[in-house]
Symmetry: C2
Subunit: 205 residues, 2 copies
């Protein structure tokens, strides 16, 4: 049963907040009542941060990562190795990889994965723009840094075929598959175990 | 480990959104990335709804329920029975009782319950203003509509003592305690069971 609120401002806030992912009307009401108990400045700051986020952020015209300028700071940085491009599904993946501090190349954000079931074909993703970057020259390696799902495999295969046709000498790599840190062997699936056995590496102390 | 974002707008949105109750930085990031994928209008509408909520809503000077005017629509309504006042802990309780559509009196929102452990004494709550309403006359019944906790019992006892001193003929009632609809007797606690046995009512078809 939907609650009706005497106040249209509250009703408006609750129906707006319940548009956030995973937030129903009950949680939205909890957010709204919390905001009412907090100082006015704080609630206004949250509202403005949302508006500024959406109106101020654009997408980098090179790598399609979120940016506040035409070219994002990563693509514009002279410190990054622009011969290596790491292809990822979304903006969050860029953050995850940046947090490892183990990659100094550039990115290419696809904006999703090929998924015929969901009606997402290659033309809806930033795949052509990746091909254009490779065609423009200067890129020696493309890392396909996607998850290990069927959609990821499909997308990777599609990109692999396209890029090898454009530039046969291009090095195309993918993330190592193997046992995750902290995983017990007992609970590791067979495919992962088989792959990590085949791709075994010299023992390191 | 806290993620750092290349964009200050994103950082700002994430740290703002993570101030909502039960929302950590991970969820806040999910909210922010969702907002970035939605049309600009929608994100701006959410931001504005939050700002308008906090800046537009005030508290009714009579019952302390949320209101958009000096006196809330419930207190101002000629259709409501202003001789009965239902005392509740917070704004949400008003909504819950209104949703039953079984009460046509007025409310009084305490803004909390007496809780010595949390340092909340009667002076921090709207108890004096309740006494003033009773003193002003016209109220024949006060319903103590709180939950069944120790704090609620303490608060009810305090209010009961205060109001009977002011107006000995005032009718003071409380919500019926008993077996909840849908509860199995097997899992009902002894105190509730004892009370519902003592307060048994004629069988209704």
């Amino acid at each position: 049963m939907e609650q009706e609120f005497s106040s249209s401002l509250l009703e408006n806030a609750v129906s707006s907040l319940s548009r956030l992912p995973g937030v129903g009307r009950k949680t939205a009401l909890r957010f709204a009542l919390h905001l009412l108990r907090r100082p006015s400045d704080e609630a206004v700051a949250i509202g403005e941060a949302i508006i500024n986020l959406r109106t101020g952020i654009r997408y980098c015209s090179v790598c399609h990562n979120i940016s506040e300028s035409e070219i994002c700071p990563l693509c514009a940085s002279p410190k990054r190795d622009n011969s290596v491009v790491c292809v990822v599904e979304n903006v969050k993946d860029v953050m995850s990889i940046e947090n490892t501090r183990r990659f100094d190349g550039l990115y290419h954000v696809l904006g999703g994965l090929i998924s015929p079931v969901d009606g997402i074909g290659p033309d809806l993703l930033e795949i052509q723009s990746l091909a254009d970057r490779v065609k423009a020259g200067g890129i020696t390696e493309v890392i396909l840094a996607t998850g290990a799902t069927v959609e990821a495999d499909t997308t990777n295969y599609y990109i692999y075929r396209m890029l090898t046709r454009i530039s046969p000498e291009l090095k195309i790599t993918q993330l190592a598959r193997g046992v995750s840190v902290g995983d017990e062997l007992e609970y590791t699936d067979e495919v992962t175990l088989a792959r990590s056995l085949t791709a075994r590496t010299p023992f390191e102390l």
